[in-house]
Symmetry: C2
């Protein structure tokens, strides 16, 4: 098991990464300062059948009295309606201020259970137990929680840090191929924006990554989360540095919105978005064509999509670009690379982004 | 105008108290670091007609571009449904992360608009402009925001500090007699729990208070908010010291729940609750009968109720005591006085509270 801390003053917390550590959750939660007693394990209909029993047992064995709250798997559950049903279950179970919520699952579970923890009784302790690649390398750390609004994803939410993150890489073995690979997009992102040598290790480790080798996964997840922690420690509320984590995400979110949330998984859309952002970086930030191509090739080698799909520049895509949360007036704050391993932000007119991407995808 | 700061590190903010200072809101908001641009003024159907135009004008005159969001006055609006309608209006108005919400009104407006600010786009700047006595001396400062759930008041919420508080005591002149007086209960509370000399000043100033003398009001509101700030600076999230601010509130909340939220105004219920808590303090904390009586007499002299009503110990009252957020197991964490000007907390069994109160109200 690899352990490190996220340093946020009084809200600091430990992060544990390892294979098979799910059964240590109870003990580690007590060590992290949780009190024991009534806690709610929030999970979804995919993850519950796989891991809920083990989580309940480790909590039971460590002075906790767990109850389970399970909702239907899928992005559609990240709604105010499901949030309200979670509140109802928390009240019915008698969860008090001294209680806690354990978020067991992928990004949807972490966001939704995290937002419930942030807002129930003005905040109860939260433990993130991510079980997907995207959640383990990215969303479980850093406090972003929320639900969707019909106008846009994650429009309602809060910054609310967990009291502990426990990433058991053994749970990645049960992911489908697409779900596993989409998480690799976020891994590559850290290399692209802040750690060029990491890209080299990913290139050399392709076979082990494909085989989901446990030691390799531990190393990748730990390195990704340490990068995320570095950024969050310096800019928790995304007023500056943290924006670089949105590399590939402006176009990625627009793709998700433009094609509905069914066609692309989040990480797949981010993969396409990173390749497009690298091309824009050639125009606006002086990234060399060779480095841009190296990034594209690595993303493709991971089995991820790299091209904008036919008909990408539809109405919903364009509206989504313009509605981007990072928008300032008519300009979109865009994350670019001036070289592999180094990101910067640049304000580009929304119309100009569309034009540039059109000329490139037509070329 | 009297100005002081609430010191919470990077989340520190200024508090302004004065008569007629509403028209300085725009300038003061810029001085507090707000950016100008699109902001939403959230208010209710009582306060909007009185002050919305002045607030819009001062913001318009200071680089802000305000839009108004008005909802029906009353506790019933502190709901998830009204909250969602506020989100819709914020989106339609194009409020961005760099935007802000101005909460113009009493406690319901401050709680609801504050929670919207805490959760829209994971948090936008919030300015509290309280216009009732309760809000000016208490709820506008300290970051408690939230909405009600059918099971209990304020069950859903967040701690979210404003970027500025502006209390114009001239707005207190338009309050009805009951609304004005209920706020005095919270004022007396500060004297009871932490400032015995303040009680003496209130006793001597009864006529000026009754006449709503502006200078007197400035002094009272400032002193109350400074006490609130002192407590919040030391325990923002109510894990210790801040609990003393709940003096009178456990029984007060139970009375509100037991008789529906129509019969008692919040401050009236707290007034009765403080007298009951003082009596419990004689039993459990050694408060002298003379000091207990002095507090009762001051509350009565302010025109506030002091006796538990006939039939108080109903089913809803008892359930509410047991559901109290400060509950730990079967015990209720109760705020008591060992002398006027000094509070402590004591865990008392819920059944025992009912028994004690019964024997006293029967006596």
């Amino acid at each position: 098991m690899r352990t490190f801390g996220v340093n946020l003053g009084p809200r600091s917390y430990p992060v544990h990464v390892g294979a098979g550590i799910l059964d240590q959750l109870g003990t580690l939660a007590l060590e992290a300062g949780l009190r024991g007693g009534r806690v709610a394990v929030v999970t979804d209909s995919n993850v519950g059948p796989l891991y809920l029993r083990r989580v309940t047992e480790t909590l039971d064995g460590s002075k906790f009295d767990p109850i389970a709250i399970e909702f239907a798997a899928g992005e559609a559950s990240k709604s105010m309606a499901v949030l309200e049903s979670i509140y109802d279950r928390l009240i019915a179970a008698g969860i008090e201020r001294s209680g806690a919520i354990v978020a067991l699952g992928g990004g949807v579970v972490g966001d939704l259970a995290g937002f419930a923890a942030a807002t129930y009784l003005r905040g109860v302790a939260l433990v993130q137990v991510p079980t997907t690649m995207v959640a383990q390398v990215d969303s479980a750390l850093g406090g972003k929680t929320g639900v969707n609004h019909r106008a846009a994803k994650n429009l309602i939410g809060a910054f609310y840090e967990p009291r502990m993150v426990l990433a058991d890489v053994a749970t990645l073995s049960t992911l489908g191929q697409r779900e596993y690979r989409e998480g690799l997009a976020e891994v590559i992102k850290y290399g692209a924006i802040m750690d060029e040598p990491f890209l080299g290790e990913l290139e050399r480790g392709l076979d082990a990554i494909e085989a989901r080798d446990t030691q390799q996964l531990e190393a990748i997840v730990e390195r990704s989360l340490r990068h995320k922690a570095f950024v969050v420690e310096r800019d928790e509320h995304e007023s500056g540095l943290r924006r670089i984590l949105n590399f590939g995400h402006t176009i990625g979110h627009a793709l998700e919105a433009g094609f509905g949330y069914g066609r692309y998984l989040h990480g797949e859309a981010v993969a396409v978005g990173m390749v497009a952002a690298a091309r824009l970086s050639e125009t606006y930030a002086g990234l060399s064509a060779a480095q841009s191509e190296r990034l594209r090739a690595l993303i493709a080698a991971m089995g991820l999509p790299v091209e904008l799909p036919p008909g990408w520049a539809g109405e919903d895509f364009i509206r989504a670009i313009k509605l981007d949360k990072k928008r300032l007036g008519d300009k979109v704050e865009f994350v670019l690379l001036d070289r592999l391993g180094h990101a910067l932000t640049h304000r580009i007119d929304a119309e100009e982004i569309i034009e540039q991407l059109s000329s490139q995808s037509a070329a």
